[in-house]
Symmetry: C2
Subunit: 260 residues, 2 copies
């Protein structure tokens, strides 16, 4: 009886249709601080100033407005609640809509993750809708409002899983960087302790594809020597530059391999 179903849906539309399900975005903005000395993976948390969970720490988030895309909503929230605008490349993680995750109404949230620089832009704390945005080390997080601890962990897993494929590292580094800095960055994001650091030689080979120049021929060398050296502590290191075009070729090629 398709006709009957249609009528039923139409009546629902006029009464309480569509259903009252609020749609929000939540942002998990990571950074690595103190890349030189004692690097630490940190995340932006705000302090809630509204009725539910007042005073608790939470992820920056907000409702999606009628006249904005999801990505626009996410960028607006990043700007208004955390003051972050620069170099912001958000990735969608997942939509979560557990029934009781917000005591006030039914809220379905879409989680975004990003790795952003923190040293060069002192953008936080300039204020916004939510109070007192601050960096917290992920190794020592306060209790979070709602299910935000869960969202954060999912986002972190997502970030770690495709750290290289997303090219997120390079948005955090200065334009010219040493391989040591890149490696420290990756290790910090991956949460590797000093005992289980990545092998230097293998790391540089993987990124430069030195072995008999295999990668270079196929255009996979997405790191390029940059002029100059970083005047180093024990020894000055070569500088490299990220080449987005070559990186894009590398990714698309990688995606085409059938299984693996």
């Amino acid at each position: 009886m398709p006709g009957r179903r249609v009528a039923q849906e139409k009546s629902q539309q006029t009464e309480n249709w569509p259903p009252k399900v609020a749609l929000a975005v939540d942002l998990v903005l990571f950074t690595v601080r103190n890349l030189g000395r004692r690097p630490e993976l940190c995340v932006v948390l705000i302090k809630r100033s509204e009725d539910a969970h007042v005073g608790m720490r939470a992820l920056p988030g907000g409702f999606v407005r009628e006249n904005e895309n999801l990505d626009e909503a996410a960028k607006r929230v990043a700007k208004v609640e955390a003051g972050v605008t620069e170099n912001l490349e958000l990735e969608q993680v997942a939509a979560v809509g557990t029934l009781d995750r917000d005591p006030r109404y039914r809220v379905v949230t879409i989680t975004y993750v990003a790795l952003i620089p923190s040293d060069r832009q002192e953008l936080l704390a300039s204020g916004g809708a939510a109070a007192d945005p601050r960096w917290f080390p992920v190794s020592d997080l306060p209790p979070l409002a709602f299910d935000h601890t869960d969202l954060l962990n999912r986002a972190l897993a997502h970030l770690r899983r495709n750290l290289l494929e997303s090219g997120a590292c390079f948005r955090l580094l200065p334009e010219r960087f040493t391989l040591g800095e890149l490696q420290r960055l990756c290790e910090t994001v991956l949460g590797l302790a000093d005992g289980q650091r990545l092998d230097r030689a293998n790391f540089r080979r993987r990124l430069l594809r030195e072995g008999r120049g295999v990668g270079r021929e196929r255009g996979f060398a997405f790191l390029e020597r940059a002029p100059g050296k970083r005047p180093g502590r024990p020894r000055p290191a070569r500088l490299y530059r990220f080449v987005p075009e070559a990186f894009q070729r590398y990714i698309t090629e990688r995606r085409q391999r059938p299984l693996s």
Copy 2:
């Protein structure tokens, strides 16, 4: 001025708050038909019977109700619109909320993908809210309503990217299957033409990890010999069984490898 912001938000709450953004789920249900003879990757499409895009083909979809989770909504839609209930393991693909994607209201949709059996369950066409659900080969799709062609392509890419990691293949096969059947299935999902089929020897090695028993020792052998043979056309083939526990160990181990 955090106080001012709070007041502002509260007033918005009473008036038109939260914003009127409808939340929907759309399902991309794939299957492989005629696995023996001439296998074909197909997808469920319904015929729209409501005001927008009437008569056009579209993905099964529906609004998320106030009292159900996202996954529940997806399963309900699968049942009501396509008649699919059995062996349904949905995976979230992405949330899409382009402003003008639905002419009626603002609709944000969450796309789910699944690979389901079609031969053993004649579940479709038993009717539901949407008219005439049918299988369509992805190689020859009709024009779809809204942005559903785009959603479908994204879902297909998602399915292909982690065909093995998701274990989706095995939910489509009978409990005992031959490696040939599994390979045909994978090739069909990947859309490989006859000229670019996967290498048999390498395929079976990858799945059985025969090379000096590497995988077996680490517990990665998630395929297990099953008794009996499939009485074959040219030659009877051995039967195998999928071992979910070993598969789970394999996946978690795989995820832990830092980079790659």
